[in-house]
């Protein structure tokens, strides 16, 4: 089975977030980047497991400049067979989806995996857009996938429960927690990643459909107020007058 995993990189979860250019752009100075955890821990690992079950290949694709190669190398170290990097500094989910779809169109992947969202912009858009462009089914928020003959049974997280879907390849899937478990690359993997192919693809001309007006950080949380457990009146007063919750 020929599998493709779209990987993205995001600021480390502990990074201090700041904006520049009057709040129009993210300030990446001093920020460390990691592979988006939904891509790494769930999408990539489930693809590798599927390859181990039924055979095939796992390719990864990333849209970004050469400075992002270390993230791609990590995916190869974890076990992907080869990698593609579309040489573009993407400015929106749509531009990423266009590039990945353009590559996938001629490759005939059985399943294209993405994470359910990136942990920075939380767009949750790329997978659906790829499916739209390729005219394939899209299954979002997949937390479980099992093979059943020539079909796949995919479990989706939905509000208050789960939904089970039977689907035939090709399709696009976005991975949420539970689909697989994180695999830490070992030194052998890191060394063998050096000799795995990483093909740089020239970007196709793509139109951006969105411009960002501004970003801002949430206001700092105010201090917690502790109320004496015996002083119910004070609690009610605070909830009514200050929190305006009742």
């Amino acid at each position: 089975m020929k599998l493709l995993v779209a990987i993205s990189q995001t600021p480390e979860t502990t990074a201090r977030i700041a904006f520049k250019d009057d709040g129009k752009a993210f300030d990446a100075a001093g920020v460390n980047f990691i592979m988006n955890p939904y891509d790494e821990w769930y999408a990539l690992v489930r693809a590798l497991e599927l390859k181990e079950e039924v055979g095939g290949t796992v390719s990864v694709i990333h849209c970004g400049p050469a400075a992002h190669d270390v993230t791609i190398r990590k995916a190869l170290a974890i076990g992907a067979d080869d990698a593609y990097r579309v040489d573009i500094d993407p400015d929106s989910a749509y531009s990423v989806a266009q590039q990945i779809a353009a590559h996938a169109k001629s490759e005939g992947y059985a399943i294209i995996f993405t994470g359910k969202e990136t942990i920075d912009y939380n767009g949750a858009l790329v997978g659906g857009m790829i499916a739209g462009i390729l005219d394939q089914p899209f299954i979002s928020h997949a937390s479980k996938m099992v093979t059943s003959g020539d079909k796949m049974i995919v479990t989706r997280d939905i509000e208050g429960g789960e939904e089970e879907i039977e689907v035939s390849t090709p399709f696009v899937l976005s991975a949420s927690k539970g689909l697989a478990e994180q695999r830490i690359p070992n030194m052998r993997g890191i060394m063998s990643a050096k000799s795995k192919p990483l093909t740089v693809i020239e970007a196709i001309p793509s139109a951006s459909l969105a411009t960002y007006t501004s970003f801002s950080v949430p206001p700092p949380k105010s201090a917690v107020k502790l109320v004496d457990p015996s002083d119910m009146d004070e609690l009610v007063r605070l909830l009514h007058e200050e929190a305006k919750a009742i």
Partner: protein, 398 residues
């Protein structure tokens, strides 16, 4: 995060004040981050508990093998990782960030057992042991120190006597990391000509025993023991053919000391990281204690010393990669970086106040561990004498 034993989630974050990361390659960064993740997953949740009970987390021997922590800079065909010396360094740094005892488990296996076998044993012995040591199927230990000969190993009295196709080994070794759980020992003993020889001795052979040493307040998650040899028959094929004298064991120690020079930075970083976070969270007199000048002085000095140690280790690694790191340079880096980490642990302990003496925070454990690290692989003072002799040309040892 696996398991629920952890007192707290490991919130550790690296610190890189002088952008030393830019001097590292992709391999180095990947290796470092992988071992950091592994430590957060496998070591942090259990280490306070094992250390508290003074028990070695033996299951980690296998995990260390899987991640590739044994002999990362040895060739792949001999069970190593085929990586460079800086990769080896950053791996040790991250392991010791978790615990010096866990780093010791890996240092001994890779640098003190696999390395001498790789460097000095016959092809047959290499083939027999190295792959199994690399995969963690066999655990090794390194017997140099004796009850009456620590800083002065050349005075050793453990000896071998020729007996046809074998040597008969007699004597005792002391303070041997991993010895009670080891399948084999690399042992240094004197032959009849009084020359120090190295050999591979299996723990199952008649006359071999390895009683555990109890009551350690330091390196409690690492198992330490004696080695006792009573007429152990060591086949001649197991004795390293071409290396004689103290330079045999010293070459292994250089390899391990190099790893400790990096490892200590990890322990120092963990203490600094914890102290920095605590100083911003803990409030006294109505403000975070990190806002007081005396706390800031401590934190400022810590990150300064860490930065110097990082640059020293990086330069040492660059020299080692081209085979140019001298034993004296390695000695200086080991001494400086371990001392730096121990001072930081003590200061970090103070910043944590009363909490600093508990296992809610890693600092007291690191501090106690580092007392061993300051002593083994050459004591702090012995390393001063090495530098002293190097710069004056005068021997102050004896």
């Amino acid at each position: 995060m696996s398991g629920h034993k952890s007192v707290k989630t490991d919130q550790y974050q690296g610190h890189d004040y002088f952008n030393v990361d830019e001097l590292l390659s992709q391999d180095h960064l990947l290796a470092r981050d992988a071992v950091r993740d592994w430590v957060k997953q496998e070591v942090s949740p259990i280490i306070e508990d094992y250390s508290n009970r003074s028990e070695c987390p033996k299951h980690l021997f296998k995990g260390l093998a899987e991640i590739g922590a044994y002999g990362p800079s040895l060739p792949v065909e001999y069970g190593g990782g085929g990586m460079d010396e800086i990769a080896y360094g950053v791996i040790m740094q991250e392991l010791e960030r978790g615990d010096s005892g866990v780093r010791s488990m890996a240092s001994v296996q890779g640098s003190l057992v696999m390395y001498p076998i790789f460097r000095y044993a016959s092809e047959e012995i290499k083939k027999k042991y190295l792959p199994k040591l690399g995969s963690g199927e066999m655990i090794g230990c390194f017997g140099l120190t004796e009850p009456d000969h620590g800083s002065n190993p050349s005075g050793m009295v453990t000896k071998i006597v020729d007996d046809g196709d074998a040597y008969i080994l007699n004597g005792a070794k002391m303070w041997i990391t991993n010895s009670p759980v080891a399948d084999l020992a690399v042992v240094w003993a004197k032959d009849e000509a009084g020359e120090i020889r190295g050999m591979v001795v299996e723990s199952g052979w008649k006359g071999f025993s390895a009683p555990e040493i109890h009551g350690k307040w330091s390196l409690r998650a690492s198992i330490t023991g004696e080695l006792v040899f009573e007429d152990v028959r060591v086949p001649k094929t197991h004795v390293f053919p071409d290396i004689k004298g103290l330079k045999g064991p010293l070459s292994c120690l250089s390899k391990a000391r190099y790893g400790i020079a990096w490892g200590a930075i990890g322990a120092g970083l963990d203490c600094y990281d914890s102290a920095l976070r605590y100083s911003l969270e803990r409030e006294q007199f109505g403000r975070p204690i990190g806002g007081f000048q005396l706390t800031q002085k401590k934190l400022a000095e810590m990150i300064t010393e860490i930065t110097k140690a990082q640059l020293l280790a990086w330069r040492l690694g660059s020299l080692a990669n081209v085979g140019k790191a001298t034993p004296a340079q390695i000695s200086m880096a080991k001494r400086n970086n371990v001392h730096m980490a121990l001072e930081i642990a003590r200061e970090a302990r103070q910043i944590h106040g009363g909490m600093g003496i508990t296992n809610e925070y890693p600092v007291m454990r690191h501090m106690m561990n580092l007392e061993t690290v300051l002593t083994y692989e050459g004591t702090h003072d012995i390393h001063l004498l090495i530098t002293g002799m190097d710069v004056t040309g005068l021997n102050a040892f004896s």
